[in-house]
């Protein structure tokens, strides 16, 4: 494995290698001295063609905790707004001698393009491309589920080699536009979990029947019958509500009534079930404040775990010149 482009590329062994390494990284982050010398002298470029705060900061924190230098590049106010192509941007960065590219792009497939061409010959990490993939998000979600749904089930470190066999995960909301759901379906399937995607028919993409997940339009029924161990609420982008934005559903109120995680649905979940959200949240729309702030919410743990998982990915792709061979 030279790049991390898609959660679907990860074998069971590779996924566990990343999650186990992330646990080792997490331990180092409980120290007073959080910085490891591991990637000293290496530079990582955060190449962000699309707005993102938490993912970029998380990658930046991860690289810095491993002592790598970080160069942040955002398309706004850069040569891209002057019309520079991805190819020229990549070749320019290559000429500057960087060691890895973390890329977010509005076009699905941009990270693949970067990895497969000879524009730049360094590991490429996909930080979200279009509606395609967001593999580190799926990894941090799996890391969080492993801590909360296996072993002591209290968020403490998971056992080495633990997977998610036998667990059921419901992913709820805007399935159509979400790269988080695509990555999660791939990775959760690899780790042995069962996935149900839930949303209004207008927000389930054509072709979802071929995913390694079941499809449902009825959240209450999924909670009652599938008894999910985790529910992952996806952000509903407000711009999709109006007729101009596609008119995927009649009104925010109606969406919340059918698919929002309110207090009643929270209470109907199994006692051990956790509530997840990749952020940023629309409180009152897809998730109620009661659910977001409940003790079952792992939303802040997901943010913390994101740093450990990204440290693990950077370590595994960069530490050895020979790369990960799992």
């Amino acid at each position: 494995m030279k790049h991390l482009l898609s959660a679907a590329d990860l074998s069971h062994a590779e996924a566990l290698a990343i999650l186990d390494t992330a646990e080792a990284m997490a331990e180092t982050q409980s120290r007073q001295m959080k910085k490891l010398p591991t990637l000293r002298g290496r530079s990582v470029v955060n190449l962000f063609f699309e707005d993102s705060t938490r993912t970029r900061i998380s990658f930046e924190a991860a690289a810095k905790r491993l002592s790598a230098d970080v160069i942040n590049f955002s398309a706004k106010g850069s040569s891209v707004s002057k019309g520079e192509s991805l190819k020229d941007t990549a070749q320019t960065l290559n000429a500057m001698g960087i060691d890895a590219v973390v890329i977010r792009h509005q076009a699905s497939g941009a990270p693949h393009r970067l990895a497969e061409t000879d524009w730049i010959d360094v590991p490429v990490i996909n930080a979200g491309d279009g509606t395609h993939q967001h593999p580190t998000q799926a990894l941090l979600d799996a890391f969080t589920m492993r801590r909360h749904l296996t072993g002591a089930m209290d968020g403490s470190p998971a056992a080495t080699g633990a997977d998610l066999a036998g667990r059921t995960v419901a992913i709820v909301g805007d399935i159509l536009h979400s790269r988080v759901v695509r990555s999660n379906v791939d990775l959760l399937h690899t780790l042995g979990a069962e996935v149900v995607v839930v949303g209004p028919p207008t927000l389930i993409p054509v072709g979802a029947e071929s995913w390694k997940a079941r499809i449902s339009y009825d959240l209450d029924r999924v909670i009652a019958e599938d008894r999910p161990d985790a529910v992952m609420m996806l952000r509903v982008q407000r711009e999709r509500m109006s007729g101009a934005g596609g008119g995927y559903f009649p009104s925010p109120q109606e969406y919340t009534r059918a698919y929002g995680l309110d207090a009643a649905r929270l209470a109907a979940l199994p006692d051990h079930a956790i509530v997840m959200h990749p952020g940023p949240m629309n409180r009152g729309l897809e998730i109620s404040a009661a659910a977001a702030d409940s003790p079952r919410s792992t939303i802040l743990a997901q943010v913390a775990n994101g740093v450990y998982v990204r440290m693990a990915v950077l370590y595994l792709l960069l530490a050895s010149d020979e790369g990960l061979d799992a």
Partner: protein, 176 residues
């Protein structure tokens, strides 16, 4: 071709002696923390702790992964990180005894000293190894040695421990 240089009873005797030497050098078991370096230093640290407990009192045992501090990460195939487990009481002001199976170049110990520096400030750091095979590349020596084993640089020293390998033995394998 490999030949055995330590049997299970040799290993048991060596660890028992190391335990006694640690107690002698430090005038008792007070403040001692044994930190095993994964993989095989960890069970060795636990065995030495058992011996110390049998003669004096309980001591803290932990493990210290030094992988992120290695100086050969780039040139070697990818190494998996191992877990670090620090005793709850930490290592500040304690006497840390690092435990490893084989002392060779000294680079692992150098990395361990860096790791300790990031975790806390022990009063003293000592080193216990089951086998010292020579060929040091850094100014590092062990305080407690199970067996000094003259080797040539190309030979391999194979330590097997019951906890991980089902049997206790140390063998030397000829260069190929």
């Amino acid at each position: 071709m490999s030949r055995q240089v330590l049997s299970d009873s040799d290993i048991a005797r060596s660890l028992k002696r190391i335990a006694h030497e640690i107690l002698e050098r430090n005038h008792g078991a007070e403040d001692i923390v044994l930190l095993g370096i994964p993989t095989r230093g960890v069970p060795l640290a636990h065995r030495i702790a058992e011996q110390i407990e049998a003669t004096e009192s309980r001591v803290d045992v932990g493990s210290l992964d030094i992988t992120p501090y290695r100086d050969d990460l780039r040139s070697q195939p990818m190494r998996a990180m191992e877990r670090t487990e620090m005793p709850l009481a930490g290592i500040d002001g304690k006497v840390v005894v690092l435990v490893d199976d084989v002392l060779f170049s000294g680079r692992t110990v150098r990395a361990a000293l860096d790791a300790i520096n990031d975790i806390g400030r022990p009063r003293r750091v000592q080193l216990a190894v089951l086998v010292d095979r020579g060929h040091r590349e850094l100014p590092i020596r062990a305080d407690f040695v199970g067996k000094n084993l003259p080797t040539s640089r190309g030979e391999r020293v194979l330590v097997r421990l019951a906890e991980l390998d089902g049997t206790d033995t140390v063998e030397i394998e000829d260069e190929r």
